[in-house]
Each structure stands twice: as structure tokens, then as C-alpha cells.
């Protein structure tokens, strides 16, 4: 997993609520056996017409907007547990997703892939959308250590589990930690009554 410490970038607005993982990456593109290449099919059915041509009305095809942050409506990432959704966002180039609410499994998957989900309140989300709308070059300045996102005069403090913060800053995932607990896990197993 790559580290995420600071980030200065612009953002892409997606003011749609309940964006489910079938929209982020449709099931028919889940057939790969590696983690690569999913970015090409991020938001596939919104991004392309049935004939494969680009849908000019979709924000990812609008050259006005770019950046490594996706700003989305409430309940982003609901639905399936497919981690392919996180791989697709990361593969496309997003390192941060901002929303007023995230689905649980997506949130965990994002963090396990070096993507930071930032939860803001509904008013702040609206304010961010307005800023991007009035100036697509609005700069976002993220400091993971300080847990602060600056968007012009907005100083947004966001919550982040201390353990997960450490993981992002160091580019570590849970697996090394869990494997290091082998003795404790075996002691647990020894006392467990199994039916």
C-alpha cells in the first residue's frame, strides 16, 4: 500500500447520492485475477455510451474538472463488498473521496488501499460543491497527520482512527500486524470451545 501524507490537488464533483459499487465498477468487469486495470472501467456505464463512445455529460469526461479527490453525495459506496471499487478509484487516480456519509465496507476497503474517505457534514459538502462549481481550479490541501483539509478559507477537521492514520502515513496494511499476533491467536484457539 502507498503512503498518503499530504496532498495538494483539485477535485472532481459527483453530486449524486447513494452511488453504489455496481456504478463504481459494474459486475461484468470483476473478472480479473489481479488488482490492475480497473481504473479504465471506473463508472463505466455512466462514463461511456452503450456503443463505447464517451458520454460527454459525465464529469470524468469533462476536461474542466480533474484532480485526485472525488467529492460525492451521501452514502457513497453502498452495495457490494467488492474491493474492486477501491481498486478502480485508485487505479483512475483518486486518493481521497469526500462525502457526507460512506457505506461501511467501502470505507474499510478504501483505507486498506491507501484511499482516505473524508466524512464532512451536509452543509460543508454543499459548500465544497459550490466552490468547485464556481471555480473548478479550487485547491484542496490535505494534511493527514494533522487531520485537516483546507479548501480556501474552509478549514475542515476530519475524523480518522489513530490506527488507520498510522497505516496511511506509513503505507502499512493490517496483515503484518495480524500475522505478528500468531502466539496470541493460538492461545485464543486453545481455550475456544467449538461446537
Amino acid at each position: 500500500m502507498e503512503k498518503l501524507i499530504t496532498l495538494q490537488t483539485t477535485a472532481v464533483p459527483l453530486p449524486i447520492e447513494d452511488v453504489d459499487t455496481d456504478q463504481i465498477i459494474p459486475a461484468r468487469f470483476l473478472k480479473a485475477v489481479t488488482k490492475e486495470g480497473f481504473g479504465d472501467n471506473l463508472f463505466r456505464d455512466w462514463r461511456y455510451h452503450k456503443d463505447g463512445s464517451e458520454n460527454e455529460n459525465f464529469v470524468l469526461n469533462n476536461p474542466t474538472y480533474s484532480g485526485r479527490i472525488l467529492v460525492a453525495g451521501k452514502n457513497f459506496g453502498c452495495g457490494s463488498s467488492r474491493e474492486h471499487a477501491a481498486w478502480a478509484l485508485y487505479g483512475y487516480g483518486f486518493q481521497v473521496v469526500i462525502s457526507s456519509f460512506f457505506a461501511d465496507i467501502f470505507k474499510g476497503n478504501a483505507l486498506n488501499n491507501g484511499i482516505l474517505p473524508i466524512v464532512v457534514d451536509g452543509n460543508t459538502l454543499d459548500a465544497i460543491f459550490k466552490k468547485i462549481e464556481s471555480n473548478p481550479n479550487t485547491q484542496f490541501d490535505l494534511d493527514v497527520e494533522a487531520q485537516v483539509l483546507k479548501v480556501e478559507e474552509l478549514n475542515i477537521d476530519f475524523e480518522l482512527d489513530s490506527y488507520k492514520k498510522e497505516c496511511l502515513l506509513k503505507g502499512q496494511d493490517d496483515i503484518d500486524f495480524l500475522v505478528s499476533l500468531k502466539d496470541e491467536i493460538e492461545s485464543f484457539e486453545a481455550q475456544q470451545v467449538i461446537f
Binding site: 456505464d45 461501511d104 495480524l178
Partner: protein, 457 residues
């Protein structure tokens, strides 16, 4: 203070609590399938880590498999590669695989319970959000991402933050023609598609206790559709009767000890939940969805509400204020981990016996497993489906998510017993209307959305 059912099981699986409050939770059973496991196996290999407890893992091929001619090689090359990768990984790591051609192959959330692999009091995970199904047995079961699949493979544990608890009580008795699918669609329509996020839900009350295990599984299966981490129901004699005698169920003295322990798995009277909600069974009627998330549901007699999500109604070709009763449909899908068990098939067969499907409607019925398929055939249900013009397929996830060839054509309305009506879920442009097997059977026969209660004896 007493404990909730959830707390009793969770607390019994804590290996360690770390700074910041996260807990290392031991996982009793890990189910895997071909779509969300290959990258986890690759990760293990790259890190040179062994599979920590191979005896606690079970595999099946379900998401990608064709539902016709399963005895022939898979035609679609990418699907074939994914299924072949699973076969190879199971061979390399010595994992039992209920793959294509196996007499017990099927949807991962159907085969676990029917073989007695799923038991009360367990922690169960799978790289699939509908793992919540297994909570019907009074277990903590939830879907995980592929990174977590790899973590469980490497350590049999997950590092988790404790979810909040919610109890949803459904009081009273269900009316005729109203099923567990209607209960859960009703609950989701009231709580919304995100109303359960952050919570582990216990379903309780007379209406829930009166349900069979199959019906309970349908409810727990869809907990995730309100965003919940999982759903569960306290085990009782219905649960024990279902588990008893199954292949992996405890036998003899071990059975008695197990039942003694399982009988302690309920929420204590003085236990407190972070949130409680109650509904009355008499308020629940046959349900359908009209939009593109499972929270957009209503009873079949209502008119489509004026919702802010205009894009959703546009996609569905449905207008606010419209009544869907009488709306022509072109496709019916009966299957998925929500409703493909023997009881679902029996219910459909009982309704369609002696009837024919409508001329304008295609009907696909996909059993959840080879064991369900065999049972259906033994009971002669296949003959009923055949004479009704229903196409009985071989087991798999099928048109629930359209990863294989089974897709609903663009623009067509499909009354589906599955769990998600997301845009394009059943195929690009497909318009999904979620419903119970009974409502789906009636839609198949009349070629339109009907109130099934009017057609019951």
C-alpha cells in the same frame, strides 16, 4: 447489565483489544468464491505467507458460472480463467472446493447453511456483502473486502471496530400472501438504504420468530441493503431443527452440548441496544421497488412517491404518482442468495401449478445449489415449472448481478427475487423491480405487476 446476542458472540471472539479501541476478532468460518479471492491468494503468495487454518475455509464457484450446460467447459474466457484460478488455488492450498460438477456446488450463502457449515454462535466472513445471510442462525456473519480475505487467510482474524447495535422488532402475525421478503423490503423502505450503516441488527418479535430458517435467511441477507454490517436472529428450536442431522452438524453428545450452549444465545432482558425500532406485521403488504436502490420500495397498491432522486425514476422509466399495479413486465428472475432455496421454489411451484406464464414474459428460475435443484426435482417441481413455461436453470448467482451470460435485456422490466435494483445490476439498461417469490410468480403468470393476495385461495 445484560448483553445483547451480538455482544455475547462478539465478546467470545476477541483475541485482543488494541490502542484506539479496535479489536482483533477470531473468525470461525471463512467462505470464499472465485471473484473476490484470487487477489488474496496472490497476496499470500507474494508475501510468502502460509494459509493459517485451511480447515476453516470452504470454497465454491457461483458468481461467474453459466447456468446452462454446466458439464461443458465455461465458454466465456475471463470467467473460465477466474474459475480455473480458484480451482488451482484450492489445490495449491488444500481447500475443499464445491466447484462446478460437484453435487453440492451452489451459491456460497446457500451451501453453507444447507450443509450445516453455518452454526449458531459462530463468526463467519466471506468476500461478499450478502454474508449477512448466515446471521439467521444466530451467528455474526458479514461481508469483507479482498484485503480482509487475505488477512483471514493469513491469521484467521480481522482487526475491526465494534459496530453499534440495533434491534428491529416486528410484532404480530403476517397476513396471507405476505412473506419475509416483504418484511425486509418494508423495513428498508422505512429506514432507507443507509439507515442501518454502522449497526449490527438483531431482528426480533413474533413475526420473525414465526418464520422458517429459509425465510429468516432472506431477511438477514438483505440487512446490508440498509447499509448494516450484518443482521442476526436469536437461535431457537426452528434453528436447531434445521441444523440437526446436516452433514457438518454436531452429532450425539456433541449435539446436546451444542444445543445447550446455543440456547444461551439471546439478548438478555436488561441488555441495551444503541437503537431500537418496532414495526407491526399487520402494516406490511406485498412489496415492490420502483427505483434504483432497495430503499425505494412501496407496497404494491401504492403510487410512486415524488422523490428527489429524479435520475433514478428516469432510469426506471417510471413517473412519480404512477401506480405500478397492472404495469406490464417482460422478465421474471427467481433466484439469488436471497430467494433460491427449496422453500422459495416450493412457494412458486404451488402458485404456478396448473398455470402458464404470460406470453410476453420470459421466466428464469435458478436454484441456489445442486442440493436445492435435486430436491426440487425429487418433489416434481421441475415438471410444474416446465409446464408453466418457466426455464429451470442450473445453480449460480446468475441474473442477480449478470456476471455470467444471464442478463435482463436493456429497457426491460424484470420482477426479481434478488436483492439489488441498482442501475445496470441485472445487465446494462435493465430495470429491476424487487419482490417476493410469490409476487414474482404472479407477475410471471399475468405478465404484469399484480397484488398476489387477490390470486390466493
Amino acid at each position: 447489565m445484560g448483553k445483547t446476542l451480538f455482544e455475547k458472540i462478539w465478546d467470545a471472539h476477541i483475541v485482543k483489544t488494541i490502542q484506539g479501541g479496535r479489536e482483533v476478532i477470531y473468525i470461525d468460518r471463512h467462505l470464499i468464491h472465485e471473484v473476490t479471492s484470487p487477489q488474496a491468494f496472490s497476496g499470500l503468495k507474494q508475501r510468502n505467507l502460509p494459509l493459517f487454518r485451511k480447515e476453516k475455509i470452504v470454497a465454491t464457484a457461483d458468481h461467474n458460472v453459466p447456468t446452462l450446460n454446466q458439464h461443458l467447459p465455461i465458454k466465456e474466457p475471463l470467467s473460465k480463467k477466474q474459475v480455473d484460478t480458484l480451482i488451482q488455488n484450492c489445490k495449491d492450498f488444500e481447500i475443499p472446493l464445491f466447484g462446478l460438477g460437484h453435487e453440492k456446488q451452489g451459491i456460497v450463502h446457500v451451501i453453507g447453511p444447507e450443509q450445516g457449515i453455518t452454526k449458531p454462535g459462530m463468526t463467519i466472513v466471506c468476500g461478499d456483502s450478502h454474508t449477512s445471510t448466515h446471521g439467521a442462525f444466530g451467528s455474526i456473519a458479514f461481508g469483507i473486502g479482498t484485503s480482509q480475505v487475505e488477512q483471514v487467510m493469513a491469521s484467521q482474524c480481522l482487526l475491526l471496530s465494534r459496530p453499534k447495535t440495533m434491534r428491529i422488532t416486528v410484532n404480530g402475525k403476517l397476513a396471507k400472501g405476505v412473506t419475509s421478503k416483504d418484511i425486509v423490503l418494508y423495513i428498508i423502505s422505512k429506514l432507507t438504504a443507509s439507515g442501518g450503516t454502522g449497526y449490527f441488527i438483531e431482528f426480533a418479535g413474533e413475526a420473525i420468530k414465526s418464520l422458517s430458517m429459509e425465510a429468516r435467511m432472506t431477511i438477514c441477507n438483505m440487512s446490508i441493503e440498509m447499509g448494516a454490517r450484518g443482521g442476526m436472529i436469536a437461535p431457537d428450536t426452528t434453528t436447531f431443527d434445521y441444523v440437526k442431522g446436516r452433514e457438518h452438524a454436531p452429532k450425539g453428545d456433541a449435539w446436546d452440548k451444542a444445543v445447550e450452549h446455543w440456547s444461551t444465545l439471546y439478548s438478555d432482558e436488561d441488555a441495551t441496544f444503541d437503537h431500537e425500532v418496532a414495526f407491526e406485521a399487520k402494516d406490511i403488504l406485498p412489496m415492490i421497488t420502483y427505483g434504483t436502490n432497495p430503499g425505494m420500495g412501496m407496497n404494491v397498491t401504492e403510487t410512486v412517491p415524488d422523490v428527489p432522486n429524479v435520475k433514478s425514476l428516469e432510469y426506471m422509466g417510471i413517473e412519480a404518482g404512477e401506480q405500478l399495479l397492472g404495469k406490464e413486465i417482460q422478465f421474471v428472475f427467481i433466484g439469488s442468495c436471497t430467494n433460491s432455496r427449496i422453500e422459495d421454489l416450493r412457494q412458486v411451484a404451488e402458485f404456478v401449478k396448473g398455470k402458464q406464464k404470460a406470453v410476453n414474459t420470459s421466466v428464469m428460475i435458478v436454484p441456489g445449489s445442486k442440493m436445492v435443484e435435486a430436491q426440487a426435482k425429487a418433489e416434481g417441481l421441475d415438471k410444474i415449472f416446465e409446464s408453466a413455461g418457466f426455464e429451470l436453470r442450473e445453480p449460480g448467482c446468475s441474473a442477480c448481478l449478470g456476471m455470467n451470460e444471464d442478463k435482463v435485456p436493456a429497457g426491460q422490466y424484470c420482477v426479481s427475487t434478488s436483492n439489488r435494483n441498482f442501475e445496470g445490476r441485472q445487465g446494462p439498461g435493465a430495470r429491476t423491480i424487487l419482490a417476493s417469490p410469490l409476487t414474482a410468480a404472479a407477475a410471471a403468470v399475468y405478465g404484469k405487476i399484480v397484488d398476489v393476495r387477490e390470486y390466493l385461495n
